[in-house]
Symmetry: C2
Subunit: 559 residues, 2 copies
């Protein structure tokens, strides 16, 4: 008996998020089972997030998989819960390094394949397509897909069985009593898991501050139809393209109101294509090409388009700024935002809504009409899930620190015995013993900058450039430090500092020339010393003339 106990204590069950447990929102979750020195691992989801003002010039950010690459031989599979960007967006970028088998249900697989094609992958991407409700082994892990509801087709929770107990990883979910596409949340199976005994539930925290329930897509369909009926002229509806149910809703509304349907935006077309590919959107109306939609009478058309978050290159922003080649709106047309405002996007979204309002277009949002429901569980749904599953341990994920903390408090109030709040890089031991954080693992972010995956050092430099620009001074000297030509200055991002008639750059060149002339001959052979003198002069000049410190580069050529 003692032997067995010791053996079992050597085999640990651990959870390690490298993304998704912070404010950034790209998911990369790891589950490990085995002795510390030789664990088997599975990865659940591998998503991206989008850059913002803190990462200028960056479109995509993804979790740095550095830690798990060290154990790549022990990584038995990557399982994708559903097809949202924050769960699948990094797969094509990082898979070449990771190299383990990928498992996804048909719709998710279809989207991931598209991403591989996007970055120039020619062979068939290495994805194992598994059916909803599938159950399969990956090393010591037995995985069962549990059907849930969310804001995209095929959202799956994962029941992960190991010799040390079962984990339910919910992924993203809500309890939609009438999801319109796909089955309802599998309440029966969730209760059965609860009866079987769930060691830990890793659970979505997005809406933990919202009381009540998220609401149903069926109700959105009813209300959105009423809103569209009330609009006398053109209707533009914007929503996330991945919400195929919402897309179908707009199709139904078009049929019911006798309007033609026109899709605008690349991802809208792509998502509709992927949905049809796997047998969804069967009764979808025919789609009017955008270059023909302008000939349809104003009261006989509904546009469904991308750009609900104010993205400046998306369809809606181009329509609002009158730069769309085919679509123009007039007063008394209406734009319906069937979407929420993602924090951080307020300024862009309101700018867009103001542009539309200024042109007399009616703007209808979820603030004033019931035209959107969230895809994530509110407090009553979380309570319901905890009642069904009754885990020993609650592990809140998918949220900022304040969400995870609130979620842990909620779980405790629901009599869940243990709650652990992870953050990215914290290894949580779920078995044996009480749940606790046992390690801090390397975790970071990779930035897709142009076509280069990179860490962030140069972004700090870009932020500095955006704060105060740059001044470059080019000098040519002989070996003894005599200037062979006048210095040349270039400034970028610096305001016009001319006073009276004189050009400030010419004046700065005079200052530099004088400063270089004062450098003692014996150190003027040393580029570093000359550079120091020039920097000091430029800094002094700009501190007087401008009061700011730009980046300064000095290019010293010796001829």
């Amino acid at each position: 008996m003692p032997t067995q106990k010791s053996a079992s204590s050597e085999h640990e069950l651990v959870f390690l998020p490298l993304g998704g447990s912070d404010e950034i929102g790209m998911n990369l979750n790891l589950f490990g089972y085995g002795p510390p020195e030789d664990r088997a691992w599975i990865m659940v989801d591998l998503g991206v997030t989008f850059g913002d003002e803190r990462t200028p010039g960056i479109d995509l950010i993804m979790p740095d998989p550095e830690y798990i690459l060290e154990y790549a031989d022990n990584l038995v599979g990557l399982v994708l819960t559903h097809g949202h960007e924050d769960h699948i967006g990094a797969v094509a970028h990082l898979w070449p390094e990771i190299g383990c088998p990928i498992y996804a249900t048909p719709f998710t697989a279809e989207l991931v394949k598209g991403k591989f094609r996007d970055i120039g992958w020619i062979e068939e991407p290495p994805i194992n397509v598994i059916p909803l409700g599938a159950r399969f082994d990956l090393g010591p892990f037995n995985i069962e897909l549990i059907t849930l509801t969310h804001s995209i087709p095929e959202p799956n929770g994962l029941a992960i069985r190991t010799p040390a107990g079962m984990i339910l990883h919910t992924g993203d979910w809500k309890i939609d009593p009438d999801p319109l596409i796909g089955e309802c949340t599998d309440e029966v199976r969730l209760k059965e898991l609860g009866d079987e005994g769930v060691r830990a539930m890793i659970c979505d925290s997005t809406n933990v501050f919202s009381p009540g329930v998220a609401g149903s897509e069926a109700d959105v369909r009813t209300h959105l139809l009423e809103v569209v009926k009330s609009v006398p002229n053109r209707v533009v509806i914007t929503c996330f393209a991945s919400n195929v149910t919402r897309v179908e809703t707009v199709g139904r509304i078009a049929l019911e109101t006798g309007r033609d349907l026109c899709l605008i935006g690349r991802s809208m077309h792509r998502m509709v294509g992927a949905a049809k590919e796997v047998g969804l959107l069967k009764d979808f109306p025919p789609i009017v090409p955008e270059e023909e939609a302008g000939y349809v009478p104003r009261d006989k058309i509904v546009y469904l388009c991308t750009g609900s978050q104010g993205e400046q290159r998306a369809a809606l922003a181009r329509i609002a700024s009158e730069s769309h080649p085919h679509i123009a709106l007039d007063p008394e047309d209406a734009v319906i935002f069937s979407s929420r405002v993602i924090p951080g996007n307020e300024v862009l979204i309101y700018e867009l809504q103001n542009q539309l309002t200024e042109r007399g277009v009616k703007v209808i949002t979820a603030e004033d009409h019931f035209v959107h429901v969230s895809g994530h569980p509110c407090r009553d749904e979380l309570a319901q899930m905890y009642q069904w599953v009754r885990p020993q341990i609650a592990v809140p994920v998918h949220g900022e620190a304040r969400h995870l903390r609130e979620h842990a408090d909620l779980a405790k109030s629901l009599q869940i015995p243990e709650a652990v709040v992870p953050s990215n890089g914290t290894m949580v031991r779920l078995h044996p013993g009480p749940a606790e954080i046992i390690d801090e693992c390397p975790n970071g972010r990779l930035y897709l900058d142009g076509n280069v995956l990179t860490t962030s050092d140069h972004l700090r430099e870009r932020r500095k450039l955006s704060f105060a620009g740059l001044v470059n001074v080019a000098l040519v000297m002989d070996e003894d430090g005599r200037l062979l030509a006048s210095p040349m200055t270039k400034a970028r991002g610096v305001p016009d500092l001319d006073q009276d008639e004189e050009s400030w750059l010419a004046e700065l060149e005079d200052w530099v020339e004088e400063a270089v002339g004062r450098v003692p001959k014996k150190i003027a052979r040393d580029d570093e010393q000359v550079e120091l003198a020039v920097r000091r002069t430029v800094r002094r000049f700009l501190s007087e003339a401008w009061g700011k410190r730009p980046l300064i580069d000095v290019s010293i050529l010796r001829a």
Copy 2:
């Protein structure tokens, strides 16, 4: 009679906002009376707004007064309604150019004087201090201050009487039934104005999308006391320093709960000083210096600090990041945000709240507790004001386009005969004839960049720098275009593009050297031609290696 009619039609009454009727929110309102070629003007308010990611490196933005400077001789006065930054923040910066008399009530005047001192003004600033309720003439305008309530002491509406009728300019207001500091909204006088006949009401639109009423500072005092009583350890409260009532509330709570009060943040000290200077905050408790507050027991101290909007240099951000020299928080301490989230600040505020949460500090906000009320009128208050004042014309201001449009619709629903939605630069004729926009006037923004007031061209360059950085190539050639040294490249904000062992900058220098060598001799004497060849090469190199286009500068020295 015909003569008189013709004379009256020549004298127009116009309203011209140069700021405040857009999403930017800095106020500059002009009222003109007289014949078009020789109008007398008054200016109401002259505020700033703060920079955001669209204006990197800019702290303050103010309206460009260019248009009114052309008529500076006819500008008879600047009247300030109240002391918020978006109404007074540009006065000290722009007054030297504008030069007309300034009128303000005591507290507002105190704040403006501080701003003049801040920028190094030594003489007594040119402000006429007028009492609440004052009535005085400025050229053809007779101005009467109407006492209102808001979130700062001494908010005044302006009844502006002219031979062409009376305008009520509300400034910022709400109807606080128990404002604690200052008088209630002067309902009696507002009704009397209505009886006298108000031609046009220029009115605050901030909360037009919010139903009901804004609520009272007295209720905040009651609830905030309860919240503080529930906290066992340190309490930090953050609010806008200019909300002197809220500051007084925290003082009262300190007294009532037996806690010492410590103020943190420069503007908190300054605002308390200004309030005391004009006789407010009479029963305020003694203030513990921040360097001594650490010695007070955890359950006997309340801190009141700046930084409710997540401002990175403000007191609260420094406390949250553990970089404040005197204040450190521990688990079970609490931070109360007695404030709202100003759109655009979400990311910074949530980051701050996450930092605090991660350290076990309890974060309490207006989302979950009644610890804040807005200073602007909600829909029921707007309706009440229209019932009192009964203007012929509604002119919504102080909001984004979508707010102004909604406000105009609300006014129409309240049977106001006319409504005109202005935007910055639109001249609205209020008399004679129906209200209408009769002109578009120059209007723009000035940016305080370092110590330079400037327009925005170089900001576009800074945004480009933040997107893709900059590469500088320095060359030295003789007059015939022969390179006298190897080219030198400097890159900023570009990721590491090294492949294998080679430095990418060295490789780029090779490319440039080769490209310059290929320039035909007869055009190599022409700097522009050489620059063109170098640019093309650098662009090609980076498009392959990086997929992005940084700014490129070429410094050609001829020796």
